[in-house]
């Protein structure tokens, strides 16, 4: 069996769905954060596959940018989570509900 574009895209879709469900359903901020990263990775898988099967470098270039931005985002996001934990002594989302009305 040869592995074609469809398989890569299927993998990407599954990863994205896992990430998305994780964001929706998990309660721990760190886990939600990792799920967000999973969704980003899913999209990069699709882009790399497109790049490979099209024979162009466009997708790969995109992936570099996405990884760079994801690294910056992780730095900021984790810092926020650490600061939040210091302040509130919890990272459970249902307890982080001060931002309302």
């Amino acid at each position: 069996m040869t592995i074609g574009l469809d398989h890569y895209l299927l993998l990407s879709a599954v990863l994205f769905a896992l990430g998305f469900l994780g964001v929706l359903l998990r309660k721990n901020t760190l886990v939600i954060y990792m799920c967000l990263e999973l969704m980003l990775i899913a999209s990069t898988v699709a882009l790399v596959a497109f790049s490979h099967f099209n024979g162009t470098f466009d997708g790969n270039v995109f992936v570099f940018f996405i990884l760079t931005i994801a690294a910056a985002e992780v730095a900021v996001g984790l810092a926020i989570i650490v600061a939040l934990f210091r302040q509130r002594h919890t990272v459970q989302v249902e307890e982080l509900n001060q931002l309302k009305h």
Partner: protein, 632 residues
Amino acid sequence: MHSIPEHALLALLLPLASATVIALFLRRRGAIAAGISVGAAALVAFISIILLVHGERFSTSVEWLRLGDFTVSLGFKYDDLAALMLLVVGGVGFLIHVFSLGYMHDDKARARFFAGLSIFMFSMIGIVLADNLFMVFVFWELVGFSSWLLINHYHEKQSAADASKKAFIVNRVGDFGFLLGIIMCYWANGTVNLDELSRLGAANQLALGAAIPLLLFCGAAGKSAQMPLQVWLPDAMEGPTPVSALIHAATMVAAGIYLLCRVHMLMVFEALQVIMWVGTITALYAALCAVVQRDIKKVLAYSTLSQLGYMVAAFGLGAGWVSEGVGGGPVDMFHLAPDPAGIGAAMFHLTTHAFFKALLFLAAGSVIIGCHHEQDIFKMGGLRRKMPVTFLTFTIGVLAITGVPFLAGFYSKDAILYLAMKNDTTVFAILTFTAVLTSFYMFRVWKLVFFGPARGEAAGHAHESGWTMTLPLVLLAALSVAGGWPGVFGRLAGSVAHLVPEAAGPAHATILVTSLVVLVLGGGGALLYYRTTENDTLEERAPFVFGGLVRLRASFDQLYDYYVAKIQQRFAMLLNFLEQIFLAGLIIRGLAGVVGLLGYGARALYSGSVHAYVYWFLLGAVLLWAYATGHL
């Protein structure tokens, strides 16, 4: 040497300057304020005499305001009519200022009082000199304001505060008609300049109709307190007596007559008929009311009303005069210019009335001061010996108003009666009867105040007033004697004097006999009938007549009270109710409620739960995707 228009401008602005200086710097310096105000009045009187003697008559005008095609200008029209009126205002005004020096000597708010007199002089001179109706209206409102200010001088007294408000509001009713009249005149003729209106009138190009003159007459009726707007004048006696003399007897209330004479070119037959009857009925009604008054100033106030009615009637009587002069053939009633005889008689009586009524009021003020602010004539008596100067001058005033031959009132009243006799027998009969009543109530006051025993403690200790009060009395008495002599009035009034109708031949004899009979009947009746006791003889002997007259006097106030309390107030409550329900309730509160509800709903979305936000985000993303791909 300045030119003549600058003199007129100076006469207008001096009192304003005086009022401004007093209001800004001298509010606590009563003596200096009084000096400045009297000085300004003296200069105005001086200028008015110079202008009169100089003989030059002019019209001048500058543009004040331009709004598109519509311009408002300020200007002077100084003709013989204005010269006469300026002299009356300046001369009588000055004498009353001097009298006030004595009368208001111990008043706490002397500075405010004199500032008020000055602002009044400014406003009144503005009316006299104005060359167009808009300017007249501006100063018309200003005299209303100064009248309000001065009636309200004793503002801590509730009755004075009420009276000033009443005067202002009643005048506003009349002024509304006046303003409509001015606007309508502008709309119909394209100008409100008096000279241009005269020119159009001479060329028969005026848009004539009864509406414009009648609306303008509304303003005159308010200021001159004609029926049915007469209710404010008797109440206005709450002000200090010099104010009553200056504003509510000699000058401001005469402004209505003056206005009518200024706009005579707009008059038509029907309007003049209305004016004539309003004047006649006012004259009769006020004379009847005066008979039952106990307050010396109220008697004089009703007397003023009655005499103003005479003047208005005299003006209205100009109408029939012309139709007689045309002689035979159908007369085009719509295009009859009013005969100037009405103007002559009205202005003649206005002038003599200003002299003798100011005299009577000031003498009454002297009596009031002498009796320590007692105003009830039944508590006075026997003042003849204690206040000889006041007695003599008051007597001259009484003789002048009742028309004793060779005094001022004799000539002017006879001119009006003659005019009435020629034109309208009914009016003549009513005015003659009014003259009987005038003699009756004037001699009643005269006898009760100066004769018999002193009936009140205050009257027992009465004393003559100082020279600042008696000197104006003497001067005004001289004017009340001589003001009607043809030689004197001819000097003062110039061409206006030629308009005064003069009876000749048998008519002359009829009028002379009539006025003498009237005088003897009314005056003798009062002297014989009234006893100098503490009670009103009429009330004791004929309570039915007395009660009837009292009810007649009160009827208008009761009617207006009923109207305001029962009709207008209820209508206002109904409007308020509707406003509360619809405007405030449905529209304002309703809109706020809808917005509030929306906000309440939107607030519920903002729950603080991150998962809820993600679901909303998902929904948004799906909708966006659907829209972008054309599924939506």
